[in-house]
C-alpha cells in the first residue's frame, strides 16, 4: 500500500528520501498505472515534480535536460526539434504532459523510445548518489542499471549536427503505440562514406541496445541498401513476444526498418 508520497524541494532532499528507501516517482505514467491496481507491501514514493529537476538548457551544441522535464516540454522546445518525431511517437499528449525524461530511461521495453534516441546521441547522466554527484554514460546505465538510492538529475548530450539524427519507429498504430522496432541513429556522411555512426535500437531486446556491430559495418562504408542489409545482421538481437508482435516478427522486419531509418525508404 502506498504509505507516503514526499515532494522534496531539492535534488539533495530527493536523494536523501531515495536513500531512505523511497521509490522515485517521475511522471507516474508507468509506476502509478501499476500501483493503481496492484496489491503489495508498504511503499513510499518520492515525487520529483518539485525537486528542481525540470528544465532544458542549451549552450551552443551542449544540451542539458533536467531529469524531471516532461516529454511535452521537449516536444514544445524548438531547440530540440530533432527529438520531436521521437517524442510524438510516445504515448499520447495527456501522458506526455506527465512522463519525464528520466522515467523514459527506465521503462521496460517495448517502451522507452526516448532512451533509444538519447543512446544514439551518446548521452550522459548526472547522477546524485551516496558518494555525491557523478557522471555516467547512458549506455552503461541502460545496461547495468543504477545503484539503489541513486538519483538521475540531468541528461546531457551534444546536439547532433543538422540532418545527422534519424529516428524511425515501427508500431502497430500510427500513434500511441509501443514499439515493434525503434531505430535511432546519429550519422554523418562524408564523401559518400559513413564518417560517423552511432546506432541505438528499441523493441529488439529487453533493454534499449546499441547496435555496435552494425556501426562497425557501416563506418567507412557507402550508405546503401546492400551495406545496411549486412549491418542488420551484425548484432545479436534478442527480441521478445508481447501483445504487439512476436519475437519472430520483430527479427524479421528489423532489417527493413533499419534500412528505412537510414535510407528513408
Amino acid at each position: 500500500m502506498l504509505t507516503s508520497v514526499q515532494t522534496p524541494g531539492s535534488p539533495e532532499a530527493a536523494r536523501a528520501a531515495l536513500q531512505a528507501g523511497a521509490v522515485p516517482l517521475g511522471g507516474g505514467t508507468s509506476l502509478m498505472a501499476r500501483l493503481n491496481d496492484r496489491a503489495g507491501g508498504d511503499l513510499r514514493l518520492v515525487s520529483l515534480r518539485r525537486a528542481g529537476l525540470s528544465g532544458i538548457d542549451v549552450q551552443g551544441d551542449t544540451v542539458a535536460i533536467g531529469a524531471a522535464t516532461t516529454l511535452a516540454d521537449i516536444e514544445d522546445d524548438a531547440r530540440l526539434s530533432y527529438l520531436s518525431g521521437c517524442v510524438r511517437s510516445i504515448a499520447s499528449p495527456p501522458v506526455r504532459s506527465l512522463a519525464t525524461v528520466a522515467g523514459n530511461l527506465f521503462v521496460p521495453q517495448p517502451y522507452g523510445d526516448l532512451a533509444a534516441a538519447l543512446l544514439a546521441l551518446d548521452a550522459e547522466l548526472d547522477v546524485l548518489g551516496a558518494d555525491g554527484a557523478r557522471r555516467e554514460p547512458l549506455e552503461r546505465v541502460v545496461t547495468d542499471g543504477l545503484r539503489a538510492g541513486d538519483l538521475v538529475t540531468r541528461v546531457r548530450f551534444a546536439a547532433p549536427a543538422e540532418d545527422t539524427f534519424r529516428f524511425h519507429k515501427a508500431s502497430r498504430r500510427r500513434l500511441n503505440s509501443g514499439s515493434i522496432v525503434t531505430v535511432a541513429a546519429r550519422i554523418t556522411i562524408e564523401d559518400g562514406l559513413v564518417a560517423d555512426i552511432r546506432l541505438a535500437l528499441g523493441g529488439l531486446a529487453r533493454r534499449v541496445m546499441r547496435a555496435a556491430g552494425a556501426e562497425r559495418v557501416l563506418l567507412g562504408a557507402p550508405l546503401n541498401a546492400e551495406v545496411v542489409a549486412r549491418a542488420a545482421e551484425a548484432d545479436v538481437i534478442e527480441p521478445f513476444d508481447d501483445a504487439y508482435a512476436s519475437a519472430w516478427y520483430r527479427a524479421r522486419v528489423y532489417p527493413v526498418h533499419l534500412r528505412r531509418a537510414l535510407l528513408g525508404a
Binding site: M1, L2, D37, R38, A39, G40
Partner: protein
C-alpha cells in the same frame, strides 16, 4: 453540418410509404448535452457515505482442484470487513440462461472445489477502501492440485481428452445431439453433382468488448430493507431476476437502476458483479461497490468467443453453390454463459444470405479451460460472416469469377426457403450489392443490374 448518410430512395420505392413528422428526422440526441457537460450520470458517479469495496481473489490456474482456501491473511488487512466464499452464496450458481429455458446451470458464483479457468473468482473481499480490498484479495491463500487443461476446441472434442465438465462432456448437448444441427436437402448428393468442391477453414481469437466504462455496480441498502442496485447492465430485469435467484431473495427485494451505459457491446449482459455486490451490502449493511479493474475487464470478463469454422462447398462452374457443409466450433471457455444460445444463432445464420439447396451444419458449443466467452455485438454471426464471406471470395477466385456476380447469383430472395426452413421475406442482399457496386464504379452486366430481391426473374 452533422454527418448524415444519404438515403437512396430509388430502391424499394413502392415500399417506402409513410409521411412522417418526426420519424426520419435527424433530431439531436437527447443525451448529448449531458455528455458534453459531464452531467450524464453513470453508475459510478455517486459518492455514498460508508461505501465498501469488493475485490476478488482469482484462480491462478487453468484447471485445478482447490485443496485449501485460507482467508486469514485477508482478514488481517486493516480495513477488510468481510470475506465471501461460496458458502456465503445462497444459490451458488449463475443462472443467466435459466430464464430463457436453457440449462443446465454450470457455473458457480464463487469456485467451490475446483477452478476451470485462470481468473475464476474464488473469494470476494469486502473492505473500507479499494486498496484494502485489493490487498485483502491478494492475501487470500489457495492451495491447488493441478489438473490437465484443455485450451483448444478440437482437442477438447478429441478422443481421450480430459473431461473438464461435471456434466460429462466437453460440449453442450442439444436435445441429445453433440451440436446444433441444420439439415436441409442432401449435402452429399449436392457434392456429387457439383462441378467442384471448394473448401476453407477459418478461425478467430477471443475479442474483448473494451467498453470505456468498466463493468460494475453500486448496491445501496434501503430503509425498507430492499437493495437498490445502480448498475451498467444492458438488461435491467435480467440482472434483477438472476440476482434474486442467486441470493435466494424475493425479486421484490431488489431494485435495479441504470439505463445509462458507457459502452456495452454485449459485455454487460452476464450478471457477474451484481450478486456479489448485493451480498457484500447484505453482509455489511453498507453500500458496496464492485467494479472490474481494466485488467479484469480485458482478461477475466467474457470475450467474444474464439471460433473455428470449416466450409465445404459444392460449386457449379457457372457459380451456383449447390451444397454447403459447415462445421463450426464455438469456444465457450469454461462455462456456458450465453454460448449455447449463441451457437444456435450461429447455426441459424448458416449458410449465409444465399439460397443453397443442400446444407449441412454442425455447430458445436465447446468447453475449454479458457475464459468463459459470451455475447458480443453480432453474437454468433460476426465470425461466421468472416468465414462465409472470405469463402465466397475464395470460391470466386477459384472460379475466376467476379465476386459480386457470384454473390448476386446465389443471393437469397423473397420466397426462398432458408436452410432452417423459414421462407425468406424482406430481403435486400441483391440491392445492397448493386448499390455498393455503384459506390465504387464496379461494373455489373445488365442481367445482374436487373436482379431484384422481390422476384427471381433469372430463373
Amino acid at each position: 453540418m452533422a454527418r448524415v448518410t444519404p438515403i437512396d430512395t430509388a430502391y424499394f420505392k413502392g415500399e417506402r410509404a409513410g409521411d412522417f413528422a418526426v420519424i426520419g428526422s435527424a433530431v439531436p440526441r437527447s443525451d448529448a448535452r449531458g455528455h458534453v457537460t459531464g452531467r450524464t450520470v453513470f453508475f459510478e458517479d455517486m459518492t455514498l457515505p460508508e461505501m465498501t469495496h469488493v475485490k476478488i481473489h482469482r484462480s491462478t490456474r487453468h484447471h485445478a482442484l482447490i485443496d485449501r482456501v485460507d482467508v486469514s491473511g485477508a482478514l488481517e488487512v486493516p480495513g477488510v470487513l468481510r470475506v465471501i466464499t461460496h458458502e456465503d452464496v445462497p444459490n451458488n450458481w449463475y443462472t443467466v440462461l435459466r430464464l430463457i429455458g436453457v440449462g443446465p446451470d454450470d457455473e458457480p458464483v464463487l469456485a467451490e472445489d475446483r477452478v476451470l479457468y485462470r481468473g475464476e473468482p474464488i473469494v470476494a473481499v469486502v473492505a473500507e477502501t479499494e486498496e484494502a480490498a485489493r490487498e485483502g484479495a491478494a492475501r487470500v491463500a489457495v492451495g491447488y492440485t493441478d489438473l490437465p487443461a484443455v485450451l483448444d476446441v478440437e482437442e477438447a472434442l478429441a478422443d481421450g481428452a480430459p473431461i473438464i465438465k461435471q456434466a460429462g462432456t466437453n460440449h453442450f448437448v442439444y436435445e441429445g445431439h453433440h451440436c446444433r444441427r441444420i439439415r436441409f436437402g442432401d449435402v452429399e448428393r449436392g457434392f456429387a453433382e457439383a462441378d467442384r468442391i471448394i473448401e476453407g477453414r477459418y478461425s478467430s481469437s477471443p475479442i474483448e468488448h473494451a467498453p470505456t466504462e468498466p463493468t460494475g455496480c453500486i448496491v445501496v441498502p434501503q430503509g425498507d430493507g430492499r437493495l437498490r442496485i445502480h448498475t451498467n447492465t444492458q438488461a435491467a430485469f435480467f440482472t434483477l431476476d438472476n440476482t434474486a435467484l442467486i441470493l435466494g431473495v424475493p425479486p421484490t427485494s431488489l431494485r435495479v437502476v441504470g439505463g445509462t451505459v458507457g459502452g456495452g457491446f454485449g459485455g454487460k449482459v452476464d450478471v457477474i458483479v451484481e450478486p456479489l455486490a448485493c451480498l457484500a451490502a447484505m453482509l455489511t449493511g453498507r453500500p458496496a461497490k464492485y467494479v472490474f479493474s481494466r485488467a479484469e475487464e480485458m482478461q477475466v470478463s467474457s470475450p467474444r468467443a474464439a471460433e473455428r469454422i470449416s466450409i465445404k462447398d459444392g460449386v457449379m462452374d457457372d457459380g451456383r453453390i449447390v451444397a454447403r457443409k459447415i462445421t463450426l466450433y464455438v469456444d465457450a471457455g469454461a462455462y456456458s454463459r450465453h454460448s449455447p444460445y449463441g451457437t444456435t444463432k450461429a447455426a441459424a445464420h448458416m449458410p449465409g444470405p444465399y439460397t443453397i439447396p443442400n446444407v449441412h451444419v454442425d455447430a458445436y458449443c465447446v468447453y475449454t479451460n479458457r475464459t468463459p466467452s459470451s455475447a458480443m455485438r453480432g453474437f454468433g454471426v460476426t465470425i461466421g460472416d468472416f468465414a462465409l464471406e472470405s469463402h465466397m471470395d475464395h470460391v470466386a477466385r477459384e472460379l475466376n469469377m467476379d465476386p459480386l456476380r457470384l454473390r448476386l447469383k446465389n443471393a437469397y430472395r423473397d420466397g426462398d426457403m432458408k436452410a432452417h426452413r423459414k421462407i425468406a421475406s424482406g430481403t435486400a442482399l441483391v440491392e445492397v450489392i448493386q448499390s455498393a457496386a455503384d459506390l465504387v464504379g464496379h461494373d455489373l452486366p445488365p442481367e445482374y443490374r436487373a436482379m431484384s430481391s422481390t422476384e427471381r426473374s433469372e430463373g
